[in-house]
Subunit: 704 residues, 2 copies
């Protein structure tokens, strides 16, 4: 198989340019071609897909602090190429096997004026391209500080984009669909308030960024294996339609502190003319390192309920008392405080959730607000905000864990850090020890508010180091981590599969903060989910939140049937049934789907997809021969005509279809659903209708 052509002489001769060196790297199927060259000493690349440009000529390099940049003046002093074709098995995932097949090209560059070396490595897959910078051990470049990375992604036109504002501290913005040329005008409107937020440019956006050309080519820009580096945003030059990397700064304004040998994360481009390929791509996972743990038997997908939605949307509180304007953990005696009686994490309430979980086969019960400190936890940039080990007086940790374990259920730990990273690291060992003692094996962590050390941002190198430290330290205790407000995932769950979830986008909680756009869940799998699973916390059955809490005037912008579908469309090994036992009790027939749906899969087939419009996916249970189909749609609804050709042709199945009723609508009739069953085979077709803001969910179980 032809891997790459060294075009040094040919190009120089043909074009008459001062091209010193050039190479062409092809995908295994030949549909994607990357051209790399040095243009007057500047590293430059472009990408063609099926013979048409998808990335126009773009330059690469890094601007450094206090020394010559690594931007130009390079010579090519060596080249390597290779092919990889292997299949690996994730600990959990959308598929039980993943093929990793690419052609690789490695350019060894030297900057003669400084005698420094820099390599650029490309991997070209059938579904896209990754490249990264590598800095070998050398005498002339030892420690260096990055002022900015200047990796360009020149767009082939004024594409359509599904974007959120670039921000160093939050990813919790609603997606805007617009032309690139419209980003500047729509930026201000796209930014909503967050306790911690730092936008930086009127044309700055976040990755993963989903794009589409007018002639139907889809392009996704993101990064893979973000380790010991700051998180990348993209800033658009909207005259020339060129995106350029824009890293997250540290407290000094620097954007990276590197020691050779070092490497950047991969910069990724998923490319296809079929939107479904964006969703089935494993490019990001493939560009990450293999699993770092020898034993992964302790890592288990989790389906859970929790004492959470009643605080987010309902009348319950995380806190215990309103006695004081603020609390100091080392002096306060909660036993002497007057409880305000709205504390959600109390013994009786937690037992109710445990009973519910046990009755309906859930693995775990998340309890937020169990530990002291919630009276003034947020918005105060407080250092010693939690100790992660001391329960409130009405949370009997010993009794409750025994109560849960006796019923085959685990309590899920909650470590809100309030952004106070040093404080968390100081208590991490005893916090994990406490979990060991009581048999917790999963923790939801949170980073609400501005970061301490002050001046650091959520997505800078310092905090990225912290998030990974929390995961690898947890692994020593056989603990799984679900990090909220942490940096967006970049496929690190391949290497560290105890990172079973992240938030890193507007989750279901925003349904209580004004409501997500009805199309939100048709965009997330194209963007946020590219890097790893999201703890989206679906399963809300009571859409009018005023029913739940007189002070809540928000509305869940989804039908009930679509809430079921999200367990299939929003892939995650960690799925919450987020509503309350009482609310589920009102729709137990629909709740059956949440009970039945698995959280780990052997196969996934994206049947229909268009960002912002609809996604339909069929997945096969990893532990049985059952299939599950989910569809989510936008405010326009969606009509599907599905062929069930993914089913085993030799078997018959019973399909149970949870669909929007004819008059269902996310706004005023969300709980109108139908449940029908029918026998199906691989030859069956299904005509299905998703209401505005609706969807459908199907379980397909083999006939015995």
């Amino acid at each position: 198989m032809h891997l790459f052509k060294s075009l040094s002489l040919a190009t120089a001769a043909v074009c008459g340019l001062t091209v010193a060196n050039a190479a062409e790297i092809s995908s295994p199927n030949g549909e994607i071609i990357v051209n790399f060259s040095l243009e007057s000493g500047v590293p430059t690349y472009h990408v063609d897909y099926k013979g048409k440009p998808i990335i126009l000529p773009s330059t690469l390099g890094l601007e450094l602090v206090g020394t010559t940049n690594l931007m130009d003046g390079f010579e090519l002093i060596g080249e390597n190429s290779s092919t990889q074709d292997e299949t690996w098995e994730p600990v959990w995932g959308e598929n039980s096997q993943i093929r990793n097949h690419y052609n690789e090209y490695l350019a060894h560059l030297k900057q003669p004026a400084t005698e420094r070396l820099m390599d650029i490595r490309f991997r070209v897959y059938d579904d896209g391209v990754g490249f990264r910078y590598e800095f070998p051990m050398q005498d002339k470049l030892v420690y260096f500080v990055v002022k900015e990375e200047h990796s360009q992604f020149a767009m082939p036109g004024d594409m359509t984009a599904w974007w959120i504002a670039g921000d160093y501290d939050t990813q919790e913005y609603a997606y805007t669909e617009s032309r690139l040329s419209e980003i500047r005008g729509l930026m201000e409107k796209s930014i909503i308030d967050n306790l911690s937020q730092t936008t930086f440019s009127p044309t700055g956006v976040q990755t993963s960024l989903q794009l589409k050309t007018d002639d139907g080519i889809y392009l996704n820009l993101h990064e893979a294996a973000l380790v010991d580096y700051s998180c990348m945003h993209l800033n658009l030059d909207d005259k020339n339609m060129v995106f350029e990397s824009w890293l997250t700064p540290d407290a000094m304004g620097n954007k990276g502190h590197l020691q050779c040998p070092a490497k950047s994360p991969w910069r990724t481009m998923i490319i296809s003319d079929d939107a479904r390929d964006m969703l089935s791509s494993n490019l990001i996972l493939n560009l990450n390192e293999p699993c770092a743990y020898e034993d992964t038997s302790w890592i288990k997908p989790v389906k859970y309920v929790g004492v959470w939605w009643e605080m987010i949307a309902g009348p319950s509180q995380w806190s215990y008392t309103w006695d004081y304007p603020s609390v100091k953990l080392d002096t306060i005696d909660y036993a002497q405080c007057k409880p305000h009686s709205r504390h959600g994490a109390n013994n009786e309430n937690v037992k109710k959730y445990i009973d519910f979980a046990a009755e309906h086969g859930f693995d775990q019960v998340l309890v937020e607000g169990w530990n002291i400190g919630w009276e003034d936890w947020s918005g105060n940039w407080k250092d010693y905000v939690f100790d992660f080990v001391t329960p409130y007086p009405d949370f009997d940790i010993d009794m409750l864990n025994k109560y849960a374990n006796d019923r085959g259920v685990k309590i899920m730990m909650h470590h809100e850090t309030s952004g106070s990273a040093r404080n968390y690291e100081r208590h991490m060992a005893v916090a994990y020890d406490l979990m060991d003692k009581y048999g917790y094996n999963a923790v939801k962590s949170g980073y609400v508010g501005n970061i301490l050390p002050r001046g650091e941002h959520h997505y800078g190198q310092w905090m990225n180091n912290h998030y990974l430290y929390a995961v690898t330290e947890a692994a020593k205790h056989h603990i799984m981590v679900n990090g909220h407000e942490a940096v967006r995932p970049t496929g690190l769950c391949r290497t560290y599969p105890n990172l079973i979830g992240n938030e890193s986008a507007c989750g279901t909680e925003y349904e209580s903060f004004g409501g997500n756009k009805p199309s939100h869940t048709t965009v997330l799998p194209f963007t946020r989910l590219q890097g790893g699973p999201m703890d989206y916390t679906p399963g809300i059955f009571v859409m009018d939140l005023n029913e739940f809490n007189p002070e809540n005037h928000s509305h869940v912008n989804s039908t009930l049937a679509r809430q079921l579908a999200l367990y299939v469309t929003m892939y995650s090994p960690l799925q919450m049934a987020a509503d309350t036992p009482e609310h589920y009790g009102r729709y137990m027939d629909a709740f059956q789907f949440i009970k039945d749906v698995p959280v780990d899969w052997s196969e996934s087939h994206y049947l229909e997809a268009e960002p912002g419009r609809y996604i339909t996916v069929a997945r096969k249970d990893k532990n049985s021969d059952s299939w599950f189909v989910g569809n989510t749609s936008s405010e326009h609804g969606h009509k599907s005509n599905l062929t069930l050709s993914f089913l085993d042709p030799d078997r018959k199945y019973i399909a149970t279809i949870y669909a929007d009723a004819k008059d269902a609508h996310y706004k005023d009739n969300p709980q109108a659903y139908t449940i029908t069953t029918k026998e199906v085979t691989s030859k069956s077709s299904l005509s299905l209708n998703a209401a505005p803001g609706g969807g459908y969910a199907i379980s397909i179980v083999p006939k015995p």
Copy 2:
């Protein structure tokens, strides 16, 4: 005893000023009078000593970020006064008992425009004054950010000062003696290079600052109990001769993040017309909280030798190999490296020091450079710089600890952090566990270079929190801490007596970096030592460092006799004999004094003192009836006529006098000393002569 007079009506009537409230607080002996008042709502104080002003009217208050300042608009809404007279026993110290006797005045202030409360507390002792700000729990002031503290100290004239440049990151400057009016002109010259340094003002100086009026009143300005606050410098308005507090900023430029209830450290003024009182004052210790530990039996003063001076001044290295431009601890295999053969912390060398320590009765052997990472440890702002647990291949930690313990000696642990505080905290628990395992009970820690988190300074609130965290975590393991490059001490060793030492000034190592001024050790006890003991590492016997290391052209600016005296004049419960066994072997008769001198005392009597000129002190061993006298002098030398009236009048003693020979001189004849013995009683007088840069040491042992 009269404590304070409320002068509200009287002053208003007499002066015709808009004085709302005023109070007068007297020292127990009546010689110091503090006047506090609100001048047009601004907190104001002045101090008289023996009827003359020593602090002119000075204002107090804090400037806040983003809200009304706490500077003016105050009303006095209450007052409290009290007297304290108690005696307490330090775990170790210059005296076995300390009297804490003061009159206290507490002003309750309210800022009606904001409804906020602030208290100012004064304590007036016979030897000086302390005041601090207190912020009670309240609804209108909960969390606040300090932009600057504006505590004034208005000088009564153009005093003489012994000062070093104000700096957020180093205290390692030579003292300058000058008029206040000369500081600006001498500032630049006073600043020498340091790996981490951040000066801030041409008239900014550090505390403890020693001052003297033309009519012989001594004043020392410092702070006590620096906890959860940033370290104070003093900036001089040299038109009006008014010092004002200047706090150390954080990475954002803010100078303090406080949560009510909160309090500032004490701002201290030691006052006397006898310089010896500056040195015998216990004001700083008294203003600190009592010991926080119930059990202190594990805290023991330490006399030690170490593998250190041969790296500082000699040819040995901390590092092991020169194979690589830098090292990464998680990938390097030292067993595969080529050793450069100058690694000081090797088994044979360490055994030599252990043998020497055992033979001569030292408690411990410090070994620096024992752990991997020293190849690129300094100046690189490196995050993961040490792991604190992995020895170099030629340091057999198991064997060496056994070898030492078998000989009744402990190895002293060394934790250089290179300023990477997060990294140290991450490894602290395992590092202390390792010490537990091998029986180490003391650690010398270091913070060379710029701080990580980047942007933080050595003396900011963030790092002050860290240093104390290291001490209190160590206490859980019964480990004593000797912190180098940490913030200057402020008497916290009373509360946390396992903080047995700090550096926080130019120590003996500077004799190898160009040489300390001959007068250096006549200033340090007036300044640096006010807050707590210094690990000065005296005892250098070979002054011409070129003899030791062909590349070293520095010279130790002291006679050998003075090196002995420093064990008495530089009070510390932790004393090193810093030179090598070989060098001591050349002067074993003089070395006897270092073997004999204790490191803990029941009584101390300062016999003579003048900053920059001479200090003579007599101390009684805590564990015997022996006395030890030390004198250090400047380049001018010093003549003493001592009366030994401190001795027990009923006993006879043998005095062994280690003195400069007649022709001794720190520059060209430092090793000329005499050792004489004579019988003495409490009625004896001794005429003694210290050479230029010299001194003398005397042991006075009861006759059996």
